[in-house]
Symmetry: C2
């Protein structure tokens, strides 16, 4: 079998090979980068007469539907008018321009064959795969290869052999903190499929809401959700939608901590007297399910029986994280139970709880997955650990024989730049794991915790950064060029839009609402230089609840703002290489002038827009910092160093500009400090404020 033979080649993690005619370098915009790419000279033209044939036992209805969507996107992007027959008939007759052959139906299980082989030749396209899942990945690759330029609508000739590095490539969607409508979930499933992800981990239950209809214990959704829950029909619809795109749906029901919503519905299961209500704020809370009463297990048995039927994946995620144990230790009966069994700490009691749950899940044919805290040696090796604590804890369990996935380093809610996530390898070369142990690292998941996202903003926190994370999970570990990653991500971001994702298009709408105006240019300029505060600082700076507006500048702001990033890189190059590159000097000056003058352009808008009031100091700071940057460039231009007193004064001002406003931070302070220090010549090299290691802001690899 051709496809099987192919696999043997592809499991080797190989560097990308790009060959071009006559030494020319060939650029391409694939993300994730395939395992093997060979692009030759020449192109294949796509025109109105395009047609596709499907063959093989893997030519499933699922692959037919995927081919229909592929054709729709191909036609939409190229504006080509394909005949109705192109969409309605996938006969593998002669004369079709693209032939897809899949050997069998792929199963939605960990480790299924997802490889494919694509050949674009002058006489047509061949896509071969072992499973229909592999062919679907190949269709996404073809759409990324599609080129619209002066040659018309074409594909480059060449061959791609591709297969994923890891079998578990996930995105976690939190529907509890803020409820996410089905439409949000579906468009993000499309986005996942476009970058070859294959697991949607659905965080359905937390302190702030119980989001799935439960027929056996209906108070869960009736009292625990404010009416914002998924009906079972909707859940089935989403699972079907995901399966149609080769994506598994792993539901999470967080236990025994994060229990406010469970216990609002059924307080009799609680470890403390209550009363309980849905939690409206953010943090770690005390409500915890009581693990020592049989009623808990009777209840959960019925619950998991129903959920095991509703969700068809092999896995159920039981959470298990952040149980602070307070309510257990405050309950004399629970303490007595712990004492009787010799449990010295709550984690040991939680192990008891987990074992009881594991018994239930196993009985219903499910494997258990949970966060770091569920891991204790001695549990059966069938469980999977999801690590939010870090790679070391993952490697530790792999050494002990447990499979795991990495989420530490992929917390996209924390608004880190893309490179931070991208360079975080689940299995770096220096892991110290044996080959057998390494095989237990199944992959990873980006986690979209929803404290600070609404259906309106969530796509902009997921995309396009998650495309880079998807590449980390799929592509060879050697693919690490940041500049090329950013270039490709910028292209992919546009293509993700065609799936209905709102990450680009909602920002202007949010700005229009903020200013009640249509001229957005100055607000966009401001957004180019700022980002939301990182990690968990947002709630620290201003206490938010589930009802707080997520419609301010901080919410419209990009994570990883491109103009600020470009400026940091430019300044970094100048500081490294001297100030002789005219293009860099011009670019830096142009950016600083635009930022300096922007505050005046916003003056009237600020006067009439109360919803922008908290961002005014940031606009002022941008003006001030940019002015200092321009002064520094002037000094550097004249080659007369700035005075020590100038430097001292400006460093103080720059220090003050690091303060956040409106929960945003200014992303150009570091490089301007660098310019100011350089402008002061030898005095700058010695000044204390010039030694700070973080200036200019770190951009690994540059």
């Amino acid at each position: 079998m051709r496809a099987v033979a192919l696999m043997t080649i592809l499991v080797i993690v190989a560097p990308v090979v790009v060959m071009a005619g006559e030494g020319e370098s060939v650029t391409f915009d694939l993300m994730p980068v395939p395992a093997h790419v060979r692009l030759g000279e020449g192109v294949l033209e796509i025109n109105d007469g395009f047609s596709v044939g499907l063959t093989g036992d893997g030519a499933t209805p699922r692959l037919e539907r995927a081919t229909g969507r592929f054709l729709r996107r191909l036609s939409d992007r190229s504006a080509l008018f394909f005949a109705p027959t192109t969409f309605l008939e996938f006969e593998a007759r002669g004369g079709v321009q693209m032939m897809i052959q899949a050997a069998r139906t792929g199963k939605l299980v960990v480790g299924e064959d997802e490889s494919y082989q694509l050949e674009v030749a002058a006489d047509g396209i061949r896509l071969d795969s072992e499973t229909d899942l592999g062919a679907m990945h190949g269709l996404e690759t073809v759409l990324q290869l599609l080129t619209l330029d002066k040659n018309g609508v074409t594909l480059p000739l060449g061959t791609i052999h591709d297969a994923p590095r890891f079998p578990w490539r996930g995105l976690m969607i939190d529907s509890s903190r803020h409820f996410m409508p089905v439409a949000m979930v579906k468009r993000n499933l499309d986005g996942m499929a476009a970058v070859k992800m294959n697991v949607m981990h659905w965080h359905l239950v937390d302190d702030q809401g119980f989001r799935v209809e439960c027929l056996s214990q209906p108070w869960l959704h009736e009292l625990g959700s404010d009416g914002l829950f998924y009906t079972q029909a909707q859940i089935r619809d989403v699972i079907d939608y995901a399966a149609d795109r080769g994506i598994r749906v792993v539901p999470e029901f967080d236990l025994p901590g994060h229990g406010s919503a469970w216990l609002t519905a059924y307080p009799q299961l609680a470890s403390a007297p209550g009363p309980y209500e849905i939690e409206r704020s953010w943090g770690i809370f005390d409500p915890t399910v009581n693990p020592i009463i049989e009623e808990t297990y009777t209840f959960l048995d019925a619950f998991f029986a129903e959920m095991a039927e509703l969700f068809d994946d092999d896995f159920i995620h039981i959470g298990g994280d952040e149980n602070n144990g307070k309510h257990w230790l405050a309950n004399t009966e629970i303490v007595a139970f712990m004492n009787a069994r010799g449990y010295e700490e709550p984690l040991m009691l939680q192990r008891y709880f987990n074992e009881r749950i594991l018994e239930i899940l196993t009985r219903y044919g499910k494997r258990m997955i949970g966060w770091d805290e569920i891991f204790q040696d001695g549990l059966p090796k069938s469980i999977v650990i999801q690590s939010w604590r870090g790679r070391e804890s993952l490697f530790e369990s792999a050494r002990l024989g447990y499979s795991g996935i990495l989420s530490s380093g992929y917390y996209i809610d924390l608004i880190h730049p893309t490179d931070h996530h991208y360079l975080n390898d689940p299995l770096p070369a220096d892991s110290g794991l044996t080959e057998e142990e390494a095989a237990r690292i199944l992959g990873g998941e980006a986690t979209m915790w929803a404290e600070f996202v609404s259906p309106e903003t969530v796509d902009s926190r997921i995309w396009p950064r998650t495309a880079a994370i998807a590449e980390r999970f799929w592509s060879p570990s050697s693919v690490r060029d940041l500049k090329d990653m950013y270039r490709r991500m910028d292209r992919i971001s546009l293509w993700l839009e065609e799936l209905g994702l709102q990450h680009e298009r909602n920002r202007p709408m949010m700005l229009r609402r903020l200013c009640q105006c249509r001229d957005l240019e100055p607000l966009e300029v401001l957004l180019g230089a700022i980002e939301p505060v990182k990690v968990y600082n947002r709630n620290r700076l201003r206490k938010h609840t589930q009802f707080s507006p997520l419609t301010r500048m901080v919410d419209a702001a990009w994570p990883d703002a491109a103009p600020a990033r470009e400026f940091r890189w430019t300044v970094q190059r100048m500081l490294n290489d001297g100030f002789s590159n005219d293009a860099d000097l011009r670019a830096a000056r142009r950016a600083l002038v635009a930022w300096r003058d922007n505050h005046a352009a916003l003056a009237e808008t600020f006067q009439t827009s109360p919803a922008l009031s908290d961002i005014v100091p940031m606009s002022t700071a941008l003006k001030d910092v940019s002015s200092i940057g321009l002064q520094a460039l002037d000094f550097l231009n004249t080659e007369v160093p700035a005075s020590e007193s100038w430097l001292e004064d400006r460093l103080e001002k720059l220090g003050a500009a690091r303060e956040s406003h409106g929960q945003t931070e200014l992303m150009i302070v570091g490089p301007v400090v660098g310019l100011a220090c350089a402008a002061a010549g030898p005095a700058g090299a010695k000044a204390e404020g010039c030694q700070a290691k973080e200036q200019p802001a770190a951009t690994d690899g540059y």
Copy 2:
């Protein structure tokens, strides 16, 4: 009862009264304009402490949910942080800033009381209504009154007494030609509620697709939909969603013509042998249900029994339009049946069919509504006629005692400018109807036929123009100021965005896809001067099917492009009043210069964007026409008239520029002809090409 007494006042169709302190004129952005508005001096500030109380037997769960959505939008737009209690408790205790009182639950029936009375005073807001439906309209008015400016977040003090002019204010959504996902329907229901519309007419069946799950005759959706249909659970979800917003859902099952999808599923019901398949192109087709076999009625009896249960509205729409009768007249048995009964033409047989259907619908407790063709005198007066043919046919049936609604003039798919629809009154003062007859004109419906819209573009064809149509159905007939309408519509368009509507935000995304670039300015400038071709010309110019891409410039183009409209108005003023207004001269010149220079700015984009190829000639034409306009302004400036030969040459070029390209038309040719003729002085006044009545393009009222 206060609310009842209020009604007596409000049913009088009264001119808008706006009173301001000390003779100042007060502008406001309400759409639809209320029946009575009295705004005084001063404002009420809204701050973080805002709270709402609900009272009265009309304080229904529906009104609670509507209040929750109101608070969400109020908080989102203002960026105010309301406490969780504000969202969770609507106790009518003292101290709340806004008190809502509704006397009873409103029924979703024609003619239900939808009035409300709003008073904004220095000490708080009072919203009173007879029904919760009226209160919900009042909440939308409050959101439109919300002012964000240098005074902060405020409402103007004043009083509004409001009630609709017509009880049937609808939007028809066609889900057959292109299937529209539930998310599209829901966001448009939100848009409808925001402008106080109360009927969604759902065109679920046509030649191109049968879009509703039918359990009793499942081949309808299984064979008639390509898998694109609404499950009954989804239908119920949509009906609930609509009812929650005070909107009735009237389903349409088009019969006996438009029958391709019906007959693809059940060819035994056809009038001709077939075979049948889902129609993929646009037009009027022959397939027609056979009205002389009993099987048809047995089938439809079971079908309507199921649909009457699924849809809870009083009405079912049976279509009835555009049955060309060809298949009937080609069927000897049908002809024999007609001869036996003395039916001289197919319409008489259709009357027989309608009477049989009416009997079925009546038995299931439903009233029948259909297009013009269902009307024949003698039918019971309970039926309602929807007129696509024109007001005269509507008045005719009103005189005979039949109720009707107007859709002629509200075909938003035909891309007419807003004023065309806005000035089309269902019941003009010169209707000649008696008061009793006039009461039979129930209102109207905008119709969004879906041949040329996808889920991506459809919102931009519905909004914001439908807001102006909604005003025609709600506001006093005297509200007809076009300039003010356009001003308010432009504001409302932004607020409609907060409901998730995509009419503004998808255009940049579509442009990014077309150019595979991010600098959209020149493409936006081009779009400012062109519009999609009108009426049914698009399919005439290029044959489309259900699978054709709707992603080109014609699809991104606005109906009623604002920059071109502003230019037409400016030129009209100059032609009327002489060329002495400097501001107008400057504005016209600025617009023409931008258009002339735009082609050069697009040169590179055009070279590399094959999907833009069909719009290149339009960009060239824009350059040429603008250059002529600038030359004309130069002549007018020097006061030396242009020569006759110049005029002749330019008129010929302008004539050529009326040709459409890429299914778009240039919207500035008429005014430039006007300028050229004026530039030629007395010679221009005589020239043949200067007599054309349509230049500059008509803008009634200006």
